[in-house]
């Protein structure tokens, strides 16, 4: 068996510790930026929902401004955004390379996407429920947390799943242009040294990470669905 592996993935076996390290870096980048993305994106999603026409705190000016900014950011390809943000990233993270340097662009690149996912999930809450809560004398924060968020858990968990999967993909892209992680590993050890089995190994690990996220997301969505 080891001989067989030696024949098909010789380079991977030599680089196993590096592969492990790259995997941890990917998880680290995903985890840290996800924390910010979920909080900021959720806040924006809520803001979009309540300020839109007919919303709980209708405010057309705020809604329009947010709407335009989000659309603008979403239309910039991530790879360009990475370059575009280099000066700002240096100021905020202290560096524009490595795991630390990738966090800020990952956040900027994914928050707009997730805020739309959150907005869509909240829009799926029956307006009748909002009206019922209002008729019971429920406050606005009460309606946001006890009705909007609680009732949209299944849709939100699906939105979060898609966002995290996207995010894993973006960490790999960031990795290829200077951040760490599996993208960097595949590019430096695989592409540049012409070791095809390294590239394949990176793909396998990424697929496994994505599958785990998907499975957990599905379980949560299913459990919360009524």
């Amino acid at each position: 068996m080891p001989e067989f592996l030696q024949n098909i993935i010789p380079n991977v076996l030599k680089k196993l510790p590096a592969l492990w390290e790259a995997t941890l870096e990917t998880l680290e980048m995903t985890g840290i930026s996800a924390l910010f993305i979920l909080v900021l994106g959720m806040a924006l999603g809520i803001l979009l929902t309540v300020t839109r026409k007919g919303g709980l705190m209708e405010n057309t000016a705020v809604y329009r401004v947010l709407d335009v900014i989000i659309n603008l950011l979403r239309s910039v390809p991530f790879i360009i955004l990475l370059f575009l943000l280099i000066p700002l990233t240096r100021i905020i993270c202290g560096t524009s390379i490595g795991v630390v340097g990738s966090i800020f662009p990952l956040i900027v690149g994914t928050v707009p996407f997730f805020s739309r996912q959150a907005e869509a999930a909240l829009a799926g809450v029956d307006p009748g429920l909002i009206e019922a809560a209002q008729s019971m004398g429920c406050s606005k924060p009460g309606i946001i947390f006890r009705v909007y968020l609680k009732e949209s858990v299944p849709a939100l968990s699906r939105g979060i799943t898609i966002t995290l999967i996207n995010l894993v993909g973006l960490t790999a892209m960031a990795g290829a242009v200077g951040a760490g992680g599996l993208g960097n590993f595949a590019y430096v050890q695989g592409v540049q040294r012409n070791c095809y089995d390294i590239i394949c190994a990176a793909v396998v690990v990424l697929v496994i990470i994505v599958q785990i996220i998907q499975i957990i997301g599905n379980i949560i969505a299913k459990k919360s669905e009524r």
């Binding site: 009748g128 429920l129 008729s135 019971m136 004398g137 406050s139 006890r146 009705v147 609680k150 009524r226």
Partner: protein
């Protein structure tokens, strides 16, 4: 208890102004079951939503127990709303919460302990007859059970008023009847003032004490239910009254040219509206004797509205013209509504 003064609400739809409520004034007494009936789009929901200020009227005042609530905002308004329960056509239960949690929702932060909350909610579920469903989710309930859960939730903060916006419109006739029965018993037991909006005349007929008829944002007729049925004034009101009476069936028969209504020379169809029951039977024999005409009954109905029997007949009268005219004249003179069809 509830007093609406010159309520006006205007919507702008596609640049056009539209009065959903047009200078409506109304007074609803404590302990009443007050109906507001009208066709879809008449402005009933708009009007009832003004009572708890879910909709703020453009002008006019809403007084609850003598207090002008149109001036209330924020926390004060929310406190007032807790005193006005509301139920809806589509129940609007929180799908992610059990029935018990739904009932607890409005009083969750009212200062009661967990134990007290649960006790109170269970009592309410007992009251509406679905205590055994406390742990179920709304998706596991039938329509009638959902509306019962919604009623329990609306009663959680001990309101004095219950607003019902088409609360039975999504239910089948039997379930509607059982929900109306429940509302009637809540009205009696708790002294709850109920404002009930509907487009179904039989709902008004079976539980309301007084009713207003709405059309184009205005109240066009208002009175006790018996009076509205016995003597509808407006065309809309008449069309609603007709929907619950088989006496309008004669029009369909005539349209279909049914053999039942093929008249021989000298025959005429008469419709007697809303006679007192006692008079009803005696009348037929007494006029046929008195005016020597034959009366052949095609339809007849007697129902009980607000404790009074009320009914009508459709008959084919056979006799000479002058005698029939004299009979009609006589009937009108004793306050029986007669139409010659």
């Amino acid at each position: 208890m509830i007093r609406l003064e010159h309520i006006t609400k205007t919507y702008v739809n596609a640049g056009k102004k539209f009065n959903a409520a047009d200078d409506v004034s109304l007074e609803i007494e404590k302990g009443e079951i007050f109906g507001i009936i009208g066709f879809s789009g008449a402005g009933k929901s708009t009007l009832v939503r003004c009572i708890n200020l879910l909709e703020r009227p453009d002008s006019g005042k809403v007084l609850i127990g003598g207090r002008d609530i149109t001036s209330l905002h924020g926390a004060e308004l929310r406190r007032q709303r807790k005193k006005i329960g509301m139920i809806f056509q589509h129940f609007n239960l929180f799908a992610s919460r059990t029935v018990l949690q739904n009932v607890i929702f409005p009083i969750r932060y009212s200062g009661l302990s967990r134990q007290q909350l649960k006790e109170k909610a269970m009592n309410l579920l007992e009251l509406v007859g679905i205590a055994d469903k406390a742990g179920a989710y709304p998706s596991e309930l039938s329509g009638g059970q959902k509306q019962r859960a919604a009623i329990a939730r609306a009663l959680a903060s001990d309101p004095e008023i219950l607003l019902c916006d088409e609360a039975t419109s999504a239910l089948d006739p039997q379930t509607t009847e059982s929900i109306l029965k429940l509302l009637r018993s809540l009205n009696a037991k708790l002294g709850l003032t109920i404002v009930l909006i509907t487009h179904q005349m039989n709902v008004v007929k079976s539980i309301c004490t007084r009713t207003a008829v709405m059309e184009n944002g205005k109240i066009v007729e208002l009175g006790d239910v018996f009076g509205i049925f016995a003597n509808p004034q407006q065309p809309v009101t008449r069309s609603f009254v007709d929907t619950t009476s088989c006496l309008s069936g004669i029009n369909d028969l005539i349209e279909e040219e049914s053999p039942v209504v093929q008249l021989n020379p000298g025959q005429r169809i008469l419709r007697f509206r809303y006679l007192e029951k006692s008079a009803c039977e005696a009348l037929v024999s007494s006029i046929s004797r008195r005016f020597s005409i034959d009366l052949n009954i095609v339809f007849g109905s007697i129902e009980i509205i607000g404790d009074h029997p009320i009914g009508g007949l459709v008959v084919i009268a056979d006799g000479n013209e002058a005698d029939i005219d004299a009979a009609v004249e006589y009937l009108r003179s004793i306050n029986v509504g007669v139409e010659v069809i």
